[in-house]
């Protein structure tokens, strides 16, 4: 029993020192992990602890006193509202990337988005379309807006299944549970999703979303957090973000 307790405590003891706690939008999953590793490599001794979720979920948690050092949102609205609410200084907000929404189709899908546009989603062979919950996810809102702009929202709204974040929407898509998904491009190059078809949307339907990073005023490691934001603007970080399909500010 004692040995078990010692075993359980060991990893914690071995990792002494406060990590930089980063709340990252679920659309950043692969990119943020690479960014964290690159930051740790560039600053020996620094450690980054990532949490992923819908930006709106983190926004709510931060409003309720969650102690994160950095918030990497999938939009600018949530960080702006945190600044307006006094939870961060305006000088500590920085746009780090522009995210784009794409349509993801499973391998062998007969849906012809490239030819017919989003109207193809109204075809009867599309039973379920996965998007992130628009109430909490910027890319969920972007998906709903794109469907409205294309004039197909009414036709397909009963087929929409909402993930708690883009992460769950991607999971619904990759298991085949959904016949199509509207996802951030950054997620579509990874794992199972890499086997599917990605169809870009015109900027008129889905304008790129400015995403900003924020150092929170309650940060335990404000200096390290600001260093992380500066790192995001550097060449190494920009190269990683570009590889995940982000456009850069």
């Amino acid at each position: 029993m004692l040995a078990l307790v010692a075993l359980a405590a060991a990893p914690v003891a071995a990792r002494a020192g406060t990590p930089l706690s980063v709340a990252a939008a679920a659309s950043l999953r692969g990119a943020a992990e690479e960014l964290a590793r690159a930051f740790e490599a560039a600053r020996p001794g620094a450690r980054v602890a990532l949490s992923f979720g819908a930006s709106g979920t983190f926004f709510a948690q931060l409003q309720n006193g969650a102690r994160f050092d950095v918030f990497l949102s999938a939009d600018r609205e949530y960080p702006d509202r945190l600044v307006a609410g006094g939870l961060a200084a305006a000088a500590d907000e920085r746009v780090y990337a522009l995210g784009t929404l794409v349509v993801w189709l499973p391998p062998g899908s007969p849906v012809d988005i490239a030819g017919k546009g989003l109207a193809a989603l109204a075809s009867p062979c599309v039973k379920r379309i996965a998007i992130a919950n628009p109430a909490v996810a910027p890319f969920g809102r972007a998906a709903e807006a794109a469907l409205r702009r294309a004039g197909v929202h009414e036709a397909v709204k009963d087929r929409l299944v909402l993930g708690t974040s883009v992460g769950q929407a991607a999971h619904f898509a990759s298991t085949g549970a959904a016949d199509a998904a509207l996802l951030p491009r950054s997620l579509t190059g990874e794992g199972e999703l890499a086997h599917g078809t990605v169809v870009p949307l015109s900027p008129a339907l889905a304008p790129p979303i400015e995403q900003s990073a924020l150092v929170l005023s309650g940060a335990r490691e404000p200096a390290l957090a600001r260093a992380f934001l500066a790192f995001l603007a550097g060449d190494r970080a920009r190269a990683i973000l570009a590889r995940y399909g982000y456009r850069l500010p």
Binding site: A54, G56, T57, F59, A60, Q63, K127, R128, A130, N133, A135, V136, D158, L160, V161, L162, G163, T164, F172, T175, G176, A177, A178
Partner: protein, 224 residues
């Protein structure tokens, strides 16, 4: 307040309870009377949903019954729609998830019935089914009611499995617990408080009713 979600949850809980009565009573009867050597394995499987996190159940359901699997295609052939994101899918998930809450009280109540009374029924010419329906069920009635109400209440409070396989579709898979989760995440605390308060009141009333009728003498008409 999300009335549609509340009605959906009540409907889901009611149907789950009916299915569990239909499937759980025979299973409990078998568990209570069988001398099968490997019965303990079946008992362990029935109890699994008590200890497994809903995420595990949800993950396996999607992995096994997803539209690309043979089981998933069979589901679609029988029910006409894919398993995930459907009310029927939620119903199946809820039946699995609440199985021990029905079967365990059922089996305990049936096992508690005096064997001599059942044997007496047999000597008087009752068939096995006849003795079960006319002797065992009336005697085990409080336990059966407890199992049914627990299944109902447990399904009403189900969250993780619904979140994993439901897809949050209003009117079809957005149950009251998911609606509250949504409202909290969207910072609509007033709406969440109203929905949560009503769910609390319903759950408390249901449980209070069960414990009230389980008091000695309330429902025992055999006069033991």
């Amino acid at each position: 307040m999300d009335v549609q979600a509340l009605l959906l949850s009540l409907q889901l809980a009611g149907l789950t309870t009916l299915v569990l009565l239909a499937l759980g009573l025979p299973l409990a009867w078998w568990l209570a009377s069988s001398r099968f050597r490997l019965k303990f394995l079946v008992e362990a499987v029935v109890a699994l949903p008590l200890v497994l996190p809903p995420t595990v159940l949800g993950f396996y359901l999607l992995a096994v019954l997803g539209p690309r699997t043979p089981a998933g295609r069979a589901w679609e052939a029988v029910f006409g729609h894919p398993f995930p994101f459907s009310f029927g899918g939620l119903l199946a998930a809820s039946v699995l998830y609440s199985l021990p809450f029905a079967v365990q009280p059922f089996a305990a109540a049936l096992a508690g019935v005096d064997r001599r009374l059942v044997e007496a029924a047999h000597t008087l010419g009752a068939s096995r089914l006849g003795a079960f329906v006319r002797v065992m069920l009336p005697l085990a009635w409080p336990g059966v009611l407890a199992g049914a109400v627990l299944s109902f209440a447990h399904t009403l409070g189900e969250f993780g499995v619904v979140l994993m396989v439901g897809g949050n579709i209003p009117g079809r898979t957005r149950t009251v617990s998911v609606a509250i989760f949504d409202q909290v995440e969207a910072l609509e605390y007033a709406a969440a408080a109203r929905t949560a308060g009503l769910l609390l009141a319903i759950s408390f009333s249901v449980l209070a009713l069960v414990y009230a009728v389980q008091r000695p003498g309330v429902l025992r008409w055999n006069g033991r």
